[in-house]
């Protein structure tokens, strides 16, 4: 449904997005991760048709955003980073306006408005003026307008910002329900959110796509640099030698803490390595604890971001 082919965006000499290519299929929720200024919002804006790409091709439902933006716009529901609301309208008038522009048939406008208001829990404020709404309600109203007209593609830029935990849970449910048979792209800073609702994750930094895979796939890829940590009693040099002798251990850091030694072994991705380490250590040292630190999505994210920065610095 969404396809980016070698998309770049430049503002003067500054390149904000560079050679970006990925797709989002129907029935898929893709998380878009990246630090501030990585180019997430610019990319989403290009897909939404708010700005055009300097080079490359963005298509939504097969419609090229450069030549058939109006056709593509009929398929898109878009929640920008800052909910686009008219403070001096009431919730009902606002949703009615968006529904009419989205070509919702006149006879079903009321039904459609009620549907999105129910999904986003806006019933209580349906007749309230928008300037009187709390931040949470404003965010939910922004999401409601994006859901109007049952768009094929949903683009959400930080959809859960400003919501309390309960509301975040509800919003995630709405997005998950919606994403069952539609294409959803979510830009977010909240990493657990990605793990919970996204089938795939795209990591972007400095306008470049660093990785795109399932959350599990990204974690597996980062396991090359997984760590086994152990706490033992004994002598530093001997411990280091014992650990480095284990097949699969690539590097060892040892430091003292409260009379014990804390060792961190960088290991490769073969299985059963923890047992091999235990066998090598237990006969000669007092082994108090041994654990394999699974990479969290957060560490995966930092791994990709830092790896790229290190490569660029070296170049």
């Amino acid at each position: 449904m969404i396809a980016l082919e070698s998309v770049s965006k430049k503002y003067g000499a500054r390149t904000v997005v560079q050679d970006l290519s990925f797709t989002v299929e129907k029935g898929e929720i893709v998380g878009f991760l990246g630090p501030n200024g990585a180019g997430k919002t610019t990319t989403i804006r290009m897909i939404a048709g708010y700005i055009t790409a300097t080079s490359g091709r963005v298509t939504v439902g097969g419609n090229d955003m450069a030549s058939a933006q109006q056709k593509a716009a009929r398929l898109i529901g878009y929640l920008p980073e800052r909910p686009p609301l008219y403070d001096n309208l009431d919730v009902r008038s606002y949703l009615r306006f968006v529904a009419r522009i989205k070509e919702v048939p006149r006879s079903s406008v009321d039904i459609e408005m009620e549907r999105v208001a129910r999904a986003c829990r806006l019933e209580d404020v349906f007749r309230k003026e928008i300037f009187k709404l709390s931040k949470g309600y404003r965010q939910r109203l922004g999401l409601a307008q994006a859901l109007l007209g049952e768009p094929e593609v949903l683009l959400l830029d930080e959809p859960t910002i400003g919501l309390d935990p309960g509301q975040i849970q509800e919003t995630r449910s709405v997005i998950q329900e919606f994403g069952k048979d539609r294409a959803v792209l979510i830009s977010t800073h909240i990493l657990p959110e990605v793990t919970l609702i996204c089938q795939r994750v795209a990591i972007i930094n400095h306008g470049r796509l660093l990785a795109i895979d399932t959350p599990e796939g990204l974690q597996r890829a980062a396991e090359e640099s997984a760590i086994v940590a152990l706490r033992v009693g004994g002598e530093t040099r001997a411990l280091r030698q014992a650990l480095l002798a284990v097949d699969g251990v690539t590097a060892v850091d040892v430091e003292e803490a409260d009379g014990d030694l804390i060792a961190q072994c960088r290991i490769d991705d073969r299985s059963g390595i923890e047992a091999a380490i235990a066998r090598a250590v237990a006969p000669h040292f007092d082994l108090h604890r041994l654990e394999r630190r699974q990479p969290t999505l957060e560490s995966v994210f930092l791994h990709y971001i830092n790896e790229r920065e290190t490569t660029e610095a070296a170049a």
């Binding site: 939404a48 878009y78 403070d87």
Partner: protein, 235 residues
């Protein structure tokens, strides 16, 4: 046209939920009432001629307050991002907003017609002259709004939009005065042709000339086309 209507209704809803429209209409009507009373007592003639001139100047100063928010407020609040990503053509947006602002102008025009009550009660004014004056006034107002709407699309700041619009409108109003300083025939003709006041003066005299009607129509069409093209280009 249904999308133009949707934009138009949204604009009207916003105008009447904010104090600006009420303020602009009130200032205009109080000013018009003052000038009407002053002119009638000064001349003792049942005519709107002098009042129309004052109304036009007042219009140049008040209408930018109506047009300034049309796009600048959308940029400022981030709603432009919504409008430009919805299935809405720039011309539909521009036309819907313009018609919303023209409705406020229509209210001003209708409100100023209250001056006609004492005029007809105590005198014998020329109806055709007055009618021509109001047509000219309405065309001038539409041209001012179209220009103001275009400048509003160029900035996020409503005050900047209003100040630039007032400056441009006053320049168009007084440009005719430069005619006498020119030795070149081309420049003299150009300044005379561009003068809002010269074209408006013909309506005040009771003349509805196609040249003057076309002039205002072309100014409106050009400003609205520039407005829509700018929105398209901005993407």
């Amino acid at each position: 046209m249904s999308k133009v209507l949707a934009v138009y209704q949204k604009e009207l809803g916003q105008y009447f939920r904010s104090p600006i429209a009420y303020f602009a209409v009130a200032v205009f009507l109080i000013g018009t009432g003052y000038f009407f009373t002053y002119n009638i007592f000064l001349t003792g003639i049942a005519t709107m001629t002098e009042t129309f001139q004052s109304m036009a100047i007042l219009l140049l100063l008040v209408l930018p307050a109506v047009s300034m928010r049309l796009f600048a407020a959308e940029h400022e609040s981030g709603t432009m991002e919504l409008l430009q990503t919805l299935p809405l053509q720039p011309w539909q947006l521009v036309l819907g907003k313009f018609l919303g602002a023209v409705t406020i102008l229509l209210l001003m025009t209708a409100g100023s017609m209250i001056d006609l009550v004492p005029l007809y009660l105590f005198g014998h004014p020329e109806t055709s002259t007055i009618l021509a004056g109001f047509i000219g006034f309405f065309l001038l107002g539409m041209a001012c709004l179209a220009i103001g709407q275009f400048f509003s699309s160029l900035t996020e700041n409503q005050i900047v939009a209003a100040l630039v619009t007032v400056s441009v409108l006053l320049a168009f109003w007084f440009v005719g005065h430069l005619e006498s300083f020119q030795t070149s025939y081309v420049l003299r003709s150009l300044f005379a042709y561009l003068s809002f006041s010269a074209h408006f003066a013909q309506f005040v005299l009771g003349l509805i000339r196609s040249e003057a009607v076309m002039f205002f129509a072309v100014v409106i069409a050009m400003a609205l086309t520039l407005n829509a093209s700018y929105l398209e280009w901005r993407r």
